[in-house]
């Protein structure tokens, strides 16, 4: 493949990735939005159904917190599918089960890709692979660090950040990054455009009713994601008293002003892993990969697991309820208690 295309701008002939930039990196437009975002510390307890109905429009660009099938806000992801949201853009920053559910629900039509069709050591998602190979979703190519840094640029309030990855590769050519030169050293950098999602959902361990959040274990890019996104929904394993937040302010990793709504969803990362709480349900994830092989079987499975249940609690019960959760807790704690 040809390496890169050349811009005709006045800065000289610099390389430029040729795929589409799905979101606007303009920091002044983002600021104009953030200027009107509430900073009032008011209670924000909400319902999954309402939040998905009111805060995601068809065509929005969304991002999901966590990594792979770890600490993911499954209840929100299912509800997006259940409400048949359409034409969503998606930040595919090692999004595995979350992406795969959304693409099974035909919610996504464009995606910034780093890693979306694999499920890590578990194998590949046949349905996600079909979607990508059939060309039904538009892709722009990135990497995990690229998307991390794009979110960081947005969180910092700047329109780009210079980085030393992706240079010289087809990954760059099929990105929407640009090559720039350091004004001090003359070194070449990839300029990563800021990514301001319209909507993000993040699952955390603890939050108060205002949205001050605590997360334990690897945080991936979620703190930057919470700042970069225009609308943010938090699902949390536990609501904790506000006074507890003030008792240890070092532990707050997402401040309330980033957050538009909070929903307490115990076991909210199921079938994914929630660090220090419960391990992933490997049987359930294996079933997903199996039924995905046949589109018809997949539809039946989606009907049973998502469309046919009224909410996330019914889904949890369908898959073993509290007894299953107890088993997954034992696995998380490396306890032989099956």
């Amino acid at each position: 493949m040809a390496l890169g295309t050349r811009d005709n701008d006045t800065e000289g002939a610099m390389l430029s990735g040729k795929n589409e930039l799905f979101t606007d990196p303009d920091p002044d437009k983002a600021r104009a939005f953030f200027r009107n975002k509430s900073r009032s510390m008011t209670p924000k307890l909400s319902q999954i159904k309402d939040v998905v109905r009111d805060m995601i429009k068809d065509g929005d660009y969304i991002a999901i917190g966590g990594f792979g099938a770890n600490r993911i806000p499954t209840a929100i992801v299912h509800e997006i599918v259940r409400q048949h949201k359409k034409h969503l853009g998606f930040a595919g920053h090692t999004s595995t089960h979350d992406f795969q559910v959304l693409i099974a629900g035909k919610c996504i039509d464009r995606c910034d890709v780093a890693y979306i069709i694999g499920l890590e050591a578990r194998g590949l998602s046949p349905n996600a692979r079909r979607a990508v190979e059939s060309g039904t979703i538009k892709l722009t190519e990135w990497t995990n660090a690229s998307l991390s840094w794009r979110l960081k640029a947005a969180a910092m309030g700047i329109s780009f950040i210079p980085t030393r990855n992706i240079l010289g590769t087809n990954t760059f050519d099929h990105s929407a990054a640009k090559m720039i030169t350091c004004p001090f050293t003359g070194k070449k950098y990839a300029a990563m455009p800021a990514l301001f999602p319209d909507f993000a959902a993040i699952h955390v361990h603890e939050a108060d009713i205002y949205g001050n959040c605590r997360v334990y274990g690897a945080s991936v890019s979620d703190f930057d994601l919470a700042k970069a996104s225009k609308r943010v929904v938090i699902t949390t394993e536990r609501i904790i008293p506000h006074d507890e937040i003030r008792r240890e302010p070092e532990k707050t990793v997402i401040p309330y002003w980033c957050v538009d709504a909070i929903i307490e969803v115990p076991y909210g990362s199921y079938p994914g892993n929630m660090p220090y709480e419960y391990f992933s349900d490997e049987e359930h994830l294996k079933t997903w990969l199996k039924v995905e092989r046949d589109p018809e079987e997949l539809e039946i499975f989606l009907q049973e697991q998502i469309y046919g249940v009224k909410d996330f609690y019914e889904y949890l019960n369908l898959n073993g309820g509290i007894e299953k959760m107890k088993k997954l807790r034992a696995i998380e704690y490396l306890i032989n208690n099956k």
Binding site: M1, G68, N70, E120, E133, E141, N144, N165, N170, D222
Partner: protein, 255 residues
Amino acid sequence: MEYNAMELMICIAARNLEDGATVVVGTGAPCAAAMLSQKIYSPNLCILFEAGGVAPILPTMPISVGDSRTFHKAIMASSMPEVMETCQRGMVDYTFLGGAQIDMYGNINSTMIGDNYQKPKVRFPGSGGANDLASLCWRTMMMTVQDARRFTDKLDFITSPGYLKGGRSRYDAGLPEGTGPYRIITNMAVMGFDDETKWMMVLSINPGYSRQDVQDNCGFELKWAKKIDDTKPPTDEELRILREEVDPHHYIIGR
């Protein structure tokens, strides 16, 4: 003791990780190699995972590079930018990549087969963090079964940079000075890269294979080091610890 190709590759990789080094690994064979190295050669090897886990005491093999195991009794449960920036700053020595194709300069394709990006014949998982780690860590290693389709002089897509077009082209593109592919460990041989041209160069041949086998199963002309060693087969200790402690369920090394 008898051993299979995967066991051999993991043992060779483990010997290449010296004590006191830092390595970012994924799931599977790279993680097994790092764990084996810690148990035999490099107790002070620091293992990092790209989602944020730093120097865990791994109780079992992780299923995901972001799952609980990757920061089990770790010294830090940090973030993806934290780990990637540690690489970018020059504090990470090694990483491991996988891929569907590799060329003579160590460039790797893990994205797609075909010539139409928007409608590939086959789509693979893509970069994930592979391009980042290949760009930013000092030394990249790969473990792979060798055949002439995989080792090709025409990649359908360069996902992760090796030495690009050889010589200084990697650094001229802006990638950090002194970084690049270090060892390609296959079932047949161990390859490095020529200092000047950066062309793939055979360093040692694995037990049971010949020069002819190694070249026949490679789609481009290989260079040969002045002195070609015989790869040392896995020791009994390596195999015992790999089978009993590192991968007791034989998820990676097979049954």
